[in-house]
């Protein structure tokens, strides 16, 4: 249990927290826009675009965006770990 506690410094915790909070802010902002688009302009998701509806393209784009954000977050955290803490086995 909790085998990596020794390798974690308060600076690293703060750095990763900052990265997480900023990135979650960005993603939730985009998500809120996606929801607001449906609520305030409900006809927009139904507009034909590239042979399907704009909403469908937007939804798939949201999913791809989530995967990319996850990868970027991992890269940033890994970089922070290399900078602020000794390397870990896992």
């Amino acid at each position: 249990m909790r085998t990596d506690i020794k390798g974690i410094t308060p600076e690293l915790i703060r750095a990763k927290r900052r990265i997480g909070q900023r990135m979650v802010g960005v993603y939730l902002g985009v998500y809120a826009l996606f929801v607001a688009l449906h609520v305030f302009t409900p006809t927009v998701p139904g507009i034909p675009s590239m042979g399907v509806s704009l909403g469908l393209i937007g939804g798939v784009a949201m999913m791809i965006f989530a995967v990319l954000m996850a990868l970027v977050y991992h890269l940033l955290c890994t970089r922070a770990e290399k900078r602020l803490a000794p390397p870990q086995d896992s």
Binding site: I13, P48, A70
Partner: protein
């Protein structure tokens, strides 16, 4: 047709049970310590754990529910996928690593790590149990949906038998076996979804007469002629029910027709002086004692028939009867420009009975690519919009607050491994949701859609390719339910044995006794889940999961995030927040329009038009936490 049993499906089904029971029995003697039982000793590789997350998350709600919703409601079902996946971003960025750093076995461990409060520990474990049980409901309903057509037995017996088997299995297995079951299940779900999507793209889109396997049948129509003395049905043995034009059915667009001893609703088209044209419907009757009849008989009578056919296929601007093999984008574009037969429903009360009547309507598939199937954002006014916002809030906030997801962070050896496994989970789950889009729209026009039980959309889509694929998909769907049930029962049993009995009540137990206590708790939780699975028969499992997510979000998320990140949070503030979140979410669910339908009443009679409670319960829980924490803050040390 619908209840024709597949021997291969039954064999695969029983094989899954045998394998899982075998693995559990093999591991039961090795799992003797609480760390082994609850957290697999913290030694699971992040890659395995990531796929196990995929398995945990792609439960009945996702594997069965999402595609079923897309098949019947179109785009609005897809919005669930967007919300479900977005919830993982909150889990990754905010919760994964801090939780791994601060906890031992349970959600309560992490939340109480800086407070060490008995009250907080009790409330957090109570909330874990309630949320876990709520999330167990859609899983058990999903089990019933699967077992009924496979074995041809009533829903409640299916839930009972499988629930008992699953409970016994998971009570013995602990986290090690659960993790590997989830790992295998995650891979199986992804592989089966890819295979089914490829089969569907290879077959293309076609009119029903070209289908190799046919699930649907032609609908009956009745001509009703206007005579001087009234109306008369031009079909032997059929007659209009007395006072049909004054019945509640007529106000909802249906005419009651008597045939033999039975009266059934038919969808009416008024044709002026020519009389009426009546079209066959499918209907669910809820009797005063709660009994459900499908097309006038119990589900096992097999009167339900399959629907969901293409009316017109337009490929590259031309009308065709079948397209041949299509690429993924070509498939969506061809669907978008074609027309399909869908089955919307109306609900009305007739005496002491409640009727939910489905009738066929032909629409451009383009209509199903925009909001409106569930959320009437265009014409529904603000109540529909608020309901939509509430659901999307519940989905994005719920994932990071689900106890069975949170406990998986303790099974890996480090914070970095917790993060990596979450990234793997997001990739796998996102890939599945893109596939579910194809499966849902494919099922919509496959001719194999059971409109009375949308949870069967994917297995029935597989059936349109023959019984072998149907058997395989049903068995995989069964493992989907089985694995998630095991995770949820583990989370709940951990709350009882570790949080309440050991840490709160201070009962001194040896490691073995603690594991035994956890196993006994698992059996009790399993029994409760079986009961609720029977009560909620027939509801879409994704819809039910939406409630579980709202409950988790309102109860756990403010408490978890504020405990992790806000120095001003006090144990009393967190306790108040969790109690307010849980009670307000439960109350709002109980008085929701959807529950009113379950009570045999009309949705319009519900005091609030909100189906999902998150929009009210989540902010209420958050505000309570801040206000109570401020009032109870100790000037020297608030924590």
């Amino acid at each position: 047709m619908l209840y024709e049993q597949s021997q291969l499906a039954v064999i695969l089904f029983l094989s899954v049970v045998a394998i899982v029971v075998g693995v559990s029995i093999q591991l039961v003697r090795r799992v003797t310590t609480p760390a082994g039982y609850f957290a697999a000793g913290g030694r699971i590789h992040w890659g395995v754990n990531g796929i196990a997350f995929v398995g945990d998350y792609l439960s009945a709600a996702s594997f069965l529910g999402i595609s079923g919703m897309i098949a019947t409601l179109g785009y609005d079902g897809f919005l669930y996928s967007v919300g479900f996946l977005s919830g993982w971003i909150v889990a990754l960025f905010m919760v994964a690593e801090p939780l791994r750093r601060m906890g031992y076995f349970t959600f309560t461990d992490a939340i109480d790590s800086t407070f060490n409060s008995r009250g907080l520990r009790f409330v957090a474990s109570l909330c874990t149990i309630v949320v876990s049980i709520f999330y167990l409901i859609p899983q058990m309903v999903g089990i019933g949906s699967l077992v009924t057509p496979l074995f041809g037995i009533p829903h409640y017996i299916g839930v009972l038998i499988v629930g008992v088997v699953v409970t016994i299995v998971v009570a013995t297995s602990g986290m090690v076996a659960t993790t590997y079951v989830q790992f295998v299940k995650g891979i199986l779900i992804l592989v089966v979804s890819v295979v089914l999507t490829l089969f569907m793209l290879q077959r293309g889109i076609m009119l029903p007469e070209h289908m190799q396997y046919r699930g649907h049948r032609s609908l009956q129509t009745l001509n009703v002629e206007k005579e001087e003395t009234g109306y008369a049905v031009r079909a032997p043995g059929y007659q209009l029910a007395p006072e049909w034009d004054k019945a509640p059915a007529y106000a909802s667009g249906f005419v009651e027709v008597r045939h033999g001893d039975e009266v059934s609703p038919w969808f009416v088209e008024e044709r002026g002086s020519a009389g009426l044209l009546l079209r066959e419907t499918q209907y669910i009757e809820r009797l005063a004692d709660g009994t459900l009849l499908y097309n006038g008989a119990p589900a096992t009578a097999g009167r339900v028939f399959l629907v969901g056919t293409m009316e017109e296929v337009i490929h590259e601007g031309k009308q065709v009867s079948q397209t041949g093999t299509l690429g993924p984008l070509e498939f969506l574009r061809t669907m978008y420009s074609s027309r399909v037969n869908i089955w919307p429903h109306a609900t009305y009360l007739s005496g002491e009975k409640q009727l939910q009547v489905f009738h066929q309507r032909t629409v451009p598939v383009a209509d199903m690519f925009e909001p409106g199937g569930m959320f009437r954002l265009n014409e529904g006014g603000w109540s529909a919009r608020l309901d939509f916002i509430s659901l999307m809030l519940a989905l994005v906030c719920g994932t990071a607050a689900l106890p069975h997801i949170l406990i998986r962070y303790y099974t890996v050896p480090s914070q970095a491994a917790a993060r990596k496994s979450t990234v793997v989970a997001i990739g796998g789950i996102g890939f599945f949701y893109v596939l579910s889009l194809f499966l849902g729209f494919g099922a919509m026009g496959s001719g194999f859609l059971n409109i009375m039980d949308t949870n069967m959309a994917v297995p029935l889509l597989a059936r349109s390719f023959g019984t072998v694929l149907f058997a395989i998909v049903s068995a995989v769907a069964f493992t989907a339910v089985l694995g998630t049930v095991s995770g949820l029962i583990l989370a709940a049993s951990g709350a009882v044995a570790h949080d309440i009995m050991d840490r709160l009540m201070g009962i001194h137990m040896s490691a073995t006794e603690k594991v035994v206590a956890a196993r006994m708790s698992a059996v009790v939780v399993g029994c409760i889940a079986v009961y609720l699975g029977i009560v909620f028969e027939g509801m879409n499992v994704s819809y039910l999961a939406g409630w579980a997510f709202a409950l988790a979000a309102a109860t756990n998320l403010p408490a978890l995030l504020m405990a992790l990140f806000w120095q001003g949070a006090t144990s009393k503030g967190i306790v108040a927040s969790m109690l307010v979140g849980m009670s307000s979410a439960l109350t709002l669910i109980l008085v929701s329009p959807e529950m009113y339908v379950r009570y045999g009443l009309l949705a319009s009679e519900a005091p609030l038009p909100l189906n999902n409670p998150a929009l009210i319960a989540l902010p209420l829980s958050w505000v309570t936490l801040v206000l109570v924490s401020r009032r109870t803050a100790n000037p020297v040390s608030s924590r």
